[in-house]
């Protein structure tokens, strides 16, 4: 087992290094200049490039970047002077993470429930209705659902604050809107997995032994259907915890997603690189954790 974990650690580190390098290269390939403002003269732009070290040879910039990265320093924003990328992540990641976790939790529970029901009632009306709902959830983009939900619950019914951040009430709408699209995925994977499980010998044996359908469902089908869904959980959770530009914009949530997207349009190099590397590290860590856990849950994995 320890050999398996060590191997995973090495792969994780290599992935992060490749990601950091690739991000650096790609960011430098984006055309344009981070100091685009009609208030800056060409000479001022030049001086600012010099100040932020953007005039140095590219290899030197890369060396500085890697060295800072090794020390956990993601640098200073070019667009927001005086603000450290580390601070930005520290302030915004918890916000996005909470919304993401709650959205994932509810959407997975509902997705699994819907998926199980679909599989149980395969090709009958509950299956069709729930699948239709799932497809609608995927087809309707958050930028459509978001304002509608905000208008209904915030403006018309006045049940929830339309926007902002600060209380438990503020989490409900963004988490719901973020989760709706994910229910569909959960439903479909669970449905497929459970249909697959239903044909397994141990399920047939359980039924032959005379167990009730309910007992077969809870004791045999449900648990075993969840195992194949696990590997995807790492990336799903990591992705959703990074924040959503659209949801954060609609509900004025100070999360990470908006910074991330805005940094790209503003060509804020250090923020783009810092957040990408953070996301990468978080993603591979989540995948690593899931892999290790998976090794515990399913002994066949670590034997391989």
């Amino acid at each position: 087992m320890s050999k398996y974990v060590l191997k995973r650690v090495m792969i994780t580190l290599a992935t992060v290094f490749i990601l950091a390098t690739l991000t650096f290269v790609l960011v430098n390939l984006i055309p344009g200049d981070p100091f685009q403002s009609d208030k800056l003269s060409p000479a001022q732009k030049e001086r600012m490039s010099e100040y932020y070290g953007l005039d140095k040879p590219i290899l030197e910039q890369y060396a500085i970047y890697l060295n800072n990265l090794l020390h956990g320093d993601l640098g200073e924003s070019l667009k927001y002077p005086g603000r450290q990328v580390n601070d930005m992540i520290r302030e915004t990641f918890p916000v996005s993470a909470i919304i993401g976790l709650i959205a994932t939790f509810f959407s997975e529970i509902i997705g699994w429930l819907f998926g199980s029901l679909c599989a149980q009632y395969r090709n009958r009306w509950p299956d069709r209705v729930l699948l239709l709902f799932a497809i609608l959830g995927t087809a309707l983009p958050t930028m459509v659902i978001g304002p509608v939900i905000r208008n209904v619950f915030g403006v018309q019914l006045k049940l929830l604050p339309t926007t902002g951040w600060g209380s438990a009430k503020h989490i409900i709408m963004p988490a719901f809107v973020l989760g709706v699209g994910m229910i569909a995925g959960g439903t479909r994977s669970m449905r497929a997995s459970m249909l697959q499980t239903s044909t397994q010998d141990y399920v047939k044996t359980a039924m032959a032994k005379g167990l009730s359908p309910k007992e077969v469902l809870f004791h045999h089908k449900l648990k075993n259907s969840m195992v194949p869904l696990m590997p995807n959980m790492g990336s799903t959770i990591a992705g959703v915890m990074m924040g959503s530009f659209v949801v954060e914009s609609i509900f004025l949530v100070p999360g990470m997603g908006k910074y991330y997207v805005d940094s790209i349009t503003a060509l804020d190099y250090s923020v783009i690189m810092g957040m990408t590397v953070f996301y990468g590290v978080f993603l591979v860590t989540m995948n690593f954790l899931v892999d290790v856990l998976y090794g515990f849950v399913d002994p066949r994995i670590r034997v391989k």
Partner: protein, 546 residues
Amino acid sequence: MNKAMKKTIAILLILVMVLAMAGCGSDDSKVSEGGEKILKVAVDYEMDSLDPARALDDVSSLVMYMIYEPLIRYADGEVYPGVAESWEVNEENTEYVFNLRQDATFSNGDPVTANDFEYAILRALDPEKAYGYKPDEIIKNGKKYCEGECDASEVGVEVIDDYTLKITCENPTFPIEFSDSYFFPLHEETVEAMGEEYGAEAAKVLGNGPFTLTEWTHESKVVAEKNENYWNKDEVKLTAIEGYINAYGTTATDMMTVGELDAANTIYTRSEVDGLKEQGFTEMNRNSGWQFLHISYKGSSEETVKWLKNTNFRLALTYALDRTNLRDAVYRSDNVATRFALPGEAGTGDKLYVEEYPYEPWGATADTEKAKEYMELAMEEMNVSSVDEIPTFVMLTLDSEGNMDALNAMADMWLKNLGIKCTIDAQPIATMLDKADAGDYDFWKGGHDNTGAVDLLKYAKQYVSGYFPGYYYEDEAYDALYRKAVSATTWEERKDACFELEQYFCEHAIDIIITNSMDVLVLSGKVTNVKFGSQTIEYAFADIVE
């Protein structure tokens, strides 16, 4: 459901609730709402910085004018004393002696002195630093110092005593220009202690204005509370101003409807503004700049640039556009521009510049007859007998629907009225700006933001030979008129010279001006005394009446 499963679900639910609570602070804002006057305003996007030397965007100005006060205040076309109680100026309008009020303090109670203005100006110009926003073209020797060509002692700012400040300017300058954020005082001790992080957080900024910043949750909210140490605090009626960052579009409309916002200049569609007005909201407007088609005098090819340099050809293009039609189809909340009024609405005195100097070089609709006449002249000069011999022109723009609609409409008008063919080169922002900087286009759809421009010649300057990369416009006559305007020693002379410059610009169709963009500010019916100030909206002296 068996026991184990129930237990698991219960634990998970508790976990989620704990997480939810952990992530949230209390719902109470720092100002209680019990009878106090809190103005809730929309802030379009996150502020760059509240360090006046580093803030380059409009929303930073919006907040800075709450927490700082410049030498002179400017609102709704009038100048008022700020920290400077009075001032004397020489005949040429180049040397100002400001008498500072002795009761002006920073929000921590320290007095504001002439040293704080000198410090702020010299810091912004510091050749060692790369500050983006500095008065290098206003203050005498500002540019030289900034480029390391002279010593700080030669810069035109001098402390005569604690409450007397002398500023010498490069060119004639008018009081309105001292309302710019260049002329905010800075508290040296605080700035030096914060270093590069000054202005990046609520706790890292110290102002002297009517309000003090107490909260800045990035990308979310900014709160400024009344500064009890402000010299003119009796005129400040609000207890606090809360700014909601990123509140724009339908979000702002929804927030206004439920009372979460009192003022927003971030609602862009006419139907939404009208809908709010039906609910009792009021609207304020100000001309905020121009939408125009910029001509590249470098061009997309040698063939096109020959045509672009022909004045009659450019005039033909100008007259062939139906601006009313364009406005109705694309620029719905704008006004049709029938001139290029350089100082916009920045005139001081009884009349605005545009009223004092009426001028209409082209009409609100297309004048096809005139366009064709100019076209014939141009073809004669270019020795061309058929429009088929004229090359196809490239129109550069950002790849968004609105921009493409505008360009398609203009290309159609030129094709229909003159037979001129254009192709559209739509690009993502970075590529578009790169191409724009390189002058690699024939027409580029752009906009100038003139919000509260205190520098009347800010945009006229960009057409001066060699000033702005990517424009490549070179015309000695224009340069001479510009120099005349800049060196005009009285306000009247400056306005006259601006008018002369404007006429030259329009008669030569140096650029193709399309519409005047409008700032639309929607206010709750209870809010009074909001003004259009220097660079931005002035909320500091607003009131809420029940």
